[in-house]
Amino acid sequence: MTLHVAPSSTAASPAVVVTHLCRAYGSRVVIENLNLRIERGEFVALLGESGCGKTTLLRALAGLDPVDGGRIAAPRRPAVVFQEHRLLPWDTLWRNVALGLQVADVRERAAAALAEVGLGDRLDDWPRNLSGGQAQRVALARALVQEPELLLLDEPFAALDALTRIRMHHLVRELVATHRPGVLLVTHDVDEAIALADRILVMRDGRIAFEHRTSGARSIARAELLAELGVVASHPIPA
């Protein structure tokens, strides 16, 4: 009943492999015997109602919460973007991006990451001068500058307005295509999942109840996913 984080080195290895994961708060089981494999470069969205265990899974993968059983095998520490930007208000943008970065040319690397998210001219600015979307872009740069093999996104666009969210979707798609980490996006937005993910999982009662690969017609996928979430009926009721 212990957590094993096994380091592996080969380039062809998956970003993360989860086997028989269990997590309970007291007697309430939140994650039950969950298996999940995410390849490098693969974008996986995790849908589910509030309290279905999706955030618990993400926090377990991030190493923030302990698990009660099973195994999480990740080659390296994953990077996380939270719903709130969590920028340090007392550090300039480049120092925020460089937080925890252990390389020689820290400022150059942070500057390059900020340029990638379109904030290359704001290196010495303070977080308080940023809009919500800009702050979340810095948070994205802070995660990607670590060159993670697994990127965990915990509803990072939920607090943004609709237009900013669409811009962020484009940016994330570009960045993921460039850096090719495995991505797990936790969201409750079906359209966001369809827009971004290669594979969409629906979590229910601590298990992955449904899986969908987004290759076919998107409208069908949308109806099917909404039905799985219990929002609408999957087939139109005959008159």
Binding site: A62, G63, L64, R86, P89, D91, L99, G100, W126
Partner: protein
Amino acid sequence: MSNLEQTASSVAFDAAQPSDNAVSRARTVQFEIGRRGLLLLSWLAPVVLLIVWELLAQAGWLSPQVLPAPSKVLRTAFKLAASESLLNDLGISLLRAIGGFTIGASIGFALGILVGFSRIAEAAIDRSVQMIRAIPFLALLPLVIVWLGVGEAEKIFLVALGVTFPIYINTTLGIRQIDPKLIELGRVQGLGTLDLIRRIVLPGALPSILTGVRYALATAWLALVVAETIGAQSGIGFLAMDAREFLRTDVIVLTIVIYALIGVAADAIARTLERRLLAWHPNYGGAR
């Protein structure tokens, strides 16, 4: 002094900006008197008071033994400064204040860090410190004199005692107020304990710690005045008590003025520290 006044009034003006109502109110006042006019008015009362005081003393209505004329105090200041005894005493007083402050602040800060981080340390230390804090520290003076006599040690001890508690309380408070989500972020970014303290905990607690420093500067000064009034052989307080023997009220008033000026200077230093170190903070560095 006028510089200090100006920043104060400009801050008040900035603060009025967010609300349209307040802005229009500020503008009408400006049309009537103008900002310079308001500044002059604020200085009018103290200046008039000084002139009345001077005239009363000159006319002989005020006995010089009760209250000497301001001009007399000024002349005494120059005379004492020329003989170097004033600067000497001032230096000794400042050294006592700095020494006591350094010791007290170090102890308060170290205990604050310990208690802020460790629940065990909190259980072991916090209650005792809070109990000692309930004593007005000046009430310990007779005991301190019994322990240490009336020498330098007693004065520095008293200053340190007054400084320790405000620094301790504000350090623990600052550490407790840090957003746990930022600590979590630090862990996600792979910071070790030392980096976590350096990059997240201390900067986050700094506004509160600096508030403690400002408060401690005031208590340090109070402690010094009391300690020097009792059995000192040098220092500003000694100067005052010595002058009392000879009914030299001009010297006594001078020492009071010096205490006031140093208090103002200490506060200005604390404010400058806040502006420099908290440039990121909208409440401090925002009005640059």
